[in-house]
């Protein structure tokens, strides 16, 4: 039996990054790969967690929270990026509102569900077209990268994405 204890739990690494960054507000739409992170975020008394019905709604909730003094993160699958494009552009980019997006990136190498593939392929290009910075750390760098991604979002007052593909979540 392989011994995994020396490896970083990917969900825990992301969570530590959120805490390291001072994230105190999160909106979310689930992905199977986010389940452990969502449970941990939901149980943290220092984070207000709002499960929303659609990712675009989460962009709005997070924008309001930031105006109210919070440091917001949106936890979602990359399919939800497609649901959020107009809000990211005509709310966050227009008013210069920062947002940390933790995105489970489906539809890439190893994806078993064919329906995930088109958005999976398009996701990096959509972020690039919107000039939204994106990072894809390995689990061992995830804590630091997530924290830095928020710092960048706050400094440049814009959304920043952390894209975490199937391999990332498999590295448990």
């Amino acid at each position: 039996m392989k011994h995994y204890q020396s490896k970083m739990n990917p969900s825990l690494a992301v969570f530590r990054g959120l805490k390291h960054a001072g994230i105190d507000f999160a909106a979310s739409v689930p992905c199977v790969n986010l389940q452990q992170l969502l449970t941990t975020v939901g149980e943290d008394p220092g984070i207000i967690h709002v499960p929303v019905t659609r990712e675009e709604e989460g962009v709005g909730v997070c924008a309001g929270a930031w105006m109210g003094g919070k440091k917001p993160a949106l936890l979602m699958q990359n399919s939800g990026l497609g649901n959020s494009i107009n809000a990211l552009a005509s709310l966050d980019l227009l008013y210069e509102i920062p947002l940390l997006m933790i995105i489970s990136h489906r539809g890439c190498e190893g994806e078993p569900i064919v329906g995930q593939v088109p958005m999976g392929r398009l996701t990096p290009g959509l972020l690039d077209a919107m000039q939204i910075p994106r990072f894809s750390p390995a689990p061992v760098q995830a804590e630091e990268t997530v924290a830095k991604a928020w710092s960048l979002a706050a400094a440049e007052r814009k959304p920043v994405a952390v894209l975490l593909d199937l391999q990332f979540w498999r590295d448990a």
Partner: protein, 186 residues
């Protein structure tokens, strides 16, 4: 009741309650700007449908301040899930006002489904919002503005002859955020 009359009543209530006021895109924001501009008004210039969501995030972040949202039937129909989220997460300091004129008033008054009978107050109640009030006249509406939850008021279609908002997005948000001091430490 004309929409601009409802907006004037809501603006007066917001001022009286020292509330933050988030306003839907298009003519509603222009009408609010014309009848009662305050630094505590956040005027949306894009992201149609998200006024109620922006207000929800703000109300959760600032439980010490009343947050009032001025929204429309077309915008709420575009983000119906917001009613379910509000039902389960909106704090006591949150009030969503839906001014229902039965049409997309800023784009040529094309009818919305509320024109055919879709009842947004019933939808809010069915979503689980416990405090839902349908206001039928200006007095009724003014009374409901001190409450929480969702208030629906039918208003006449049509826009007032008001100018565009001569503030940049940066000016709107900077002014808005400066208008209320940081939250007291919890």
């Amino acid at each position: 009741m004309k929409r601009i009359e409802a907006i004037a009543l809501a603006a007066k209530a917001a001022q009286g309650q020292n509330a933050l006021l988030v306003c839907n895109i298009g003519f509603p924001s222009r009408e609010l700007y014309a009848v009662k501009d305050r630094s505590e008004n956040f005027y949306m210039l894009g992201s149609m449908g998200l006024a109620s969501s922006i207000g929800l995030g703000l109300a959760l972040a600032r439980p010490d301040r009343k947050v009032i949202v001025l929204d429309g039937d077309g915008a709420v129909l575009m983000n119906l899930g917001t009613l379910a989220t509000i039902a389960h997460h909106a704090p006591e300091n949150y009030l969503l006002i839906i001014l229902d004129n039965g049409c997309y008033g800023s784009t040529g008054s094309q009818p919305t489904c509320t024109h055919q009978g879709t009842d947004l107050a019933a939808l809010a109640a069915a979503a689980g919002v416990r405090q839902v009030k349908a206001a039928h006249d200006p007095e009724d509406f003014a009374l409901a503005l001190s409450g929480r939850g969702v208030v629906l008021a039918k208003v006449e279609p049509g826009n007032a002859d008001v100018p565009i908002i001569d503030l940049s997005p940066e000016e709107i948000i900077e002014r808005f955020m400066r208008s209320f001091p940081p939250a007291p430490p919890s």
